[in-house]
Amino acid sequence: MVAAKVGSKGKNGTKKKGKFFGEVFIVRERCKGCGFCVEFCPTKVLALDEAMNEKGYHPPIIVNIEACNGCDLCGLYCPDFAIHGIRHRNKEVG
């Protein structure tokens, strides 16, 4: 299975302010649509897709990547190991 590569890295290192930024990885086909990640993401980065995956569930999509701080709560809450977040320090951008 291939992770949907949806990073939040700004172009040419011009990244938003703040110490951290996040990157989220979603494996659509593993998702069972429980909605935990969407509900408990503290900064409301995610929403459930209207389209379904091949199992017939609605997986999360990223609607506001700028808000992601890479806390990985989505990764902790996902019972199906279908999403996780990674935190980067802002100076890593480049």
Binding site: A3, F25, R30, H84
Partner: protein, 290 residues
């Protein structure tokens, strides 16, 4: 285990038998969250996975052992604690974890549970409590709240449920905590503490079972269960465990309740027999890395 994990790879992947995915757990089941928290705790405390054993009994939670890519064993129903006790006795250098459901651990295996706690066997016991025998179709379990509906109690249960932290404390456990699957950071922290704690540690994790328990009791889906935990859990660290019983529709008291020290089963044996037999006794080769 290689540290060279790809950032696109879910953090659990190096620890699980991914060839066995997708797992059997339903949409909105809480058991996968317990797996996530355990993996984060292992990563943070830099556990040597060659010194790690995961043992489970039968049931939905009992599947955890089969999914872990470490020395793991899926025992018969109710028997993970005796198996784990034997494993720990033969290999005292290993970190031995038991993951199982409440039906397996405190009903079918209830006698093993109280005696391992009494002896202070050096085991880390994680009990996923979803209030029912889920895999076998929803019979009344040992923690089913009074008046809840089950297939074997279609008009509601009338038997007093176990209050697991109280049971564990009074049986002799040295560490007792309860969290729900909403409390992911606290679960990671408790698991890290348990990793370093000699003796019988007990962690109860309240988890949603939308398919069997919640559907029959009209408690909604997995997300409804999680929202309930968020709204109705009260953190009371150090609470008197006599007062943490769970009522249908009531608050859930969570927290770390007990953290105390006494000699483990093997330490007690060494002390007693060294005292009685002197030089004739060869002490047990203990010494797990903590």
């Amino acid at each position: 285990m290689s540290k060279e994990t790809n950032k696109e790879m879910n953090p659990v992947e190096p620890y699980l038998r991914m060839d066995r995915m997708p797992h059997i757990w339903c949409s909105g089941c809480g058991i996968g969250i317990v797996v996530n928290c355990f993996v984060r705790a292992l990563q943070k405390s830099k556990v040597d996975i060659n010194k790690l054993a995961v043992v489970s009994g039968i049931g939905c939670t009992g599947r955890i052992a089969g999914y872990f890519k470490v020395d793991s064993f899926h025992t018969t129903h109710g028997r993970p604690i005796p198996f784990a006790t034997g494993l720990k006795t033969a290999r005292p250098d290993m970190n031995v974890w038991v993951f199982s459901g409440e039906g397996d651990l405190v009903s079918i295996g209830g006698n093993h549970f109280i005696h391992a706690a009494r002896r202070n066997a050096d085991l880390k016991v994680i009990c996923v409590n979803n209030f029912t025998y889920a895999m076998t179709g929803g019979q009344v379990g040992p923690t089913a709240p009074l008046h809840s509906i089950a297939t074997t109690a279609p008009y509601g249960t009338y038997d007093q449920p176990f209050n697991l932290p109280f049971l564990a404390e009074s049986s002799g456990a040295v560490y007792v905590a309860r969290w729900t699957t909403f409390h992911v950071r606290q679960l990671v922290k408790s698991m890290q503490e348990i990793k370093n704690k000699p003796g019988f540690s007990f962690l109860e994790v309240i988890a949603p079972c939308p398919t069997i328990y919640q559907r029959r009791n009209r408690l909604g889906d997995g997300l409804a269960g999680m929202r309930y935990y968020k709204e109705r859990s009260k953190v009371v660290n150090g609470a008197d465990t006599r007062n943490v019983d769970i009522k249908l529709g009531g608050d859930i008291i969570v927290g770390k309740f007990i953290d105390r020290d006494r000699p483990t089963q093997l330490e007690a044996m060494d002390q007693e027999l060294s005292h009685k037999l002197g030089d004739k006794y060869v002490p047990y080769p203990t010494g797990v890395e903590r």
